[in-house]
C-alpha cells in the first residue's frame, strides 16, 4: 500500500515537472517575457533564467519518472518550488497582476499568483510525501534483508 502511494505521488510530481519543462523549452523567448513580468531581475538575466530553468525542471522530472536518483531530484524540485513560492509571494505583496508563467508560455489562460501559490504548496506536500515514503520503504527493505540474513545463518 505504501509502495502504491509512493509510486503514485512520484509519478504525479514527475509528470508535472516534465510537462512544465518541456512546454517552456518550446518558446524560451516567451518564457523570458513571463520571467521579466515578475520584475525581479535585470533585463538580460531574464533570458538566462528562461534558457536554463526549463531544462533543470525537465531533467529532475525525468529522474523521478525513471525512479532513479529520487532524493537528489526531489531536492532540486523542492528548491525550485521554494524559489517559485518566494517569487509569487513577492508578486502578491507588490500587487502585480501577471500570469504566473508556470506552464505553457504561449497559452492564453492566465493563472494568478494566488492560485499558483496554492498549487506550489500542493507540490511541496508531494515532495515531502515522496521523500518520506521512500525512506520508509528503504528502511523496511533493510529490515527484511537483515531477517533474511538471520534465516540463512
Amino acid at each position: 500500500m505504501k509502495r502504491f502511494f509512493y509510486h503514485l505521488a512520484r509519478l504525479t510530481l514527475a509528470l508535472v515537472f516534465v510537462y512544465a519543462g518541456a512546454v517552456k523549452m518550446q518558446d524560451v523567448v516567451a518564457f523570458a517575457g513571463h520571467v521579466a513580468a515578475y520584475q525581479l531581475l535585470p533585463y538580460a538575466m531574464n533570458y538566462l533564467v528562461a534558457a536554463t530553468l526549463p531544462y533543470v525542471e525537465f531533467l529532475a522530472g525525468v529522474m523521478l519518472l525513471l525512479n532513479a536518483r529520487v532524493r537528489p531530484a526531489l531536492l532540486v524540485i523542492g528548491a525550485m518550488t521554494l524559489v517559485f513560492m518566494a517569487a509569487l509571494v513577492s508578486v502578491l505583496l507588490r500587487g502585480l497582476a501577471i500570469d504566473c508563467g508556470c506552464f505553457d508560455p504561449g497559452g492564453g489562460q492566465d493563472v494568478t499568483a494566488g492560485v499558483a501559490l496554492l498549487r506550489d504548496i500542493a507540490l511541496m506536500v508531494l515532495v515531502v510525501l515522496v521523500w518520506w515514503l521512500r525512506v520508509r520503504i528503504e528502511e523496511r527493505g533493510m529490515r527484511n534483508e537483515e531477517r533474511g540474513m538471520r534465516k540463512e545463518e
Binding site: 533585463y43 538566462l48 536554463t52 531544462y55 533543470v56 537528489p72
Partner: protein, 165 residues
C-alpha cells in the same frame, strides 16, 4: 545519515549543473544576443509572410535617446492601457490594435520625414515591427524599431511616465 545527505546534495548539484549546461548550450545564441543588447529577433512568421518595400531599422537604446534628443518621435505600439500604466517619457501612443482608426489622425499630425522609433514590450514582442511596417507603407521615410522596448528602457533607469510611476 550526514554522509547520505551530503551525497544527495552533491547529486542534486550535479543534476542542476547538467540541466543548466544543456540549457546554455541549446540557447547560447539567444543569450549572446540578449547580453550584448542586440535583440534583433524578428518574429519568424513576419519575416516569411510579407516582404515590405523597406524594412524598419533596428535601434539600440543609445540611438533611441539620440533620436529623441534630435527631434525624432518615440511611438508606443502597445495597448492604451499599457501606455497609461507606464511608457517612455515623451512617447506618443499609437496602439497597433487600433491602428486603422488611429492612423489617419497620426498621418495628419506627424510629418512623413520625421524620424520615428517604435517600441513595445520587448522580448520578441512583434507589435513594434508590425506597426513600423504599416508606417513605412503609409509613406514614412525613417522608421526604426527599438527591440528592447519598454522593459529595457525602464530597467536602464531612463525617464518614464504613466500611472505606475
Amino acid at each position: 545519515m550526514f554522509n547520505d545527505l551530503k551525497r544527495i546534495g552533491l547529486e542534486a548539484c550535479v543534476l542542476i549543473a547538467f540541466g543548466v549546461l544543456v540549457g546554455l548550450s541549446l540557447n547560447h545564441q539567444l543569450l549572446l544576443d540578449a547580453f550584448s543588447g542586440h535583440l534583433v529577433s524578428l518574429p519568424r512568421q513576419i519575416a516569411q509572410e510579407s516582404v515590405p518595400i523597406a524594412l524598419p531599422i533596428p535601434a539600440l537604446i543609445d540611438e533611441v535617446q539620440q533620436v529623441a534628443a534630435s527631434g525624432g518621435l518615440i511611438v508606443d505600439a502597445r495597448s492604451p492601457e499599457q501606455y497609461a500604466a507606464g511608457h517612455i517619457d515623451g512617447a506618443v501612443s499609437l496602439p497597433l490594435v487600433e491602428i486603422d482608426a488611429a492612423l489617419p489622425d497620426f498621418i495628419a499630425r506627424i510629418d512623413k520625414n520625421r524620424t520615428l522609433v517604435i517600441y513595445c514590450s520587448g522580448f520578441g514582442c512583434p507589435d513594434s515591427f508590425d506597426l513600423a511596417v504599416r508606417l513605412i507603407e503609409s509613406g514614412y521615410t525613417d522608421v526604426r524599431v527599438f527591440e528592447g522596448g519598454y522593459p529595457e528602457w525602464r530597467d536602464a533607469g531612463l525617464p518614464v511616465a504613466g500611472d505606475e510611476q
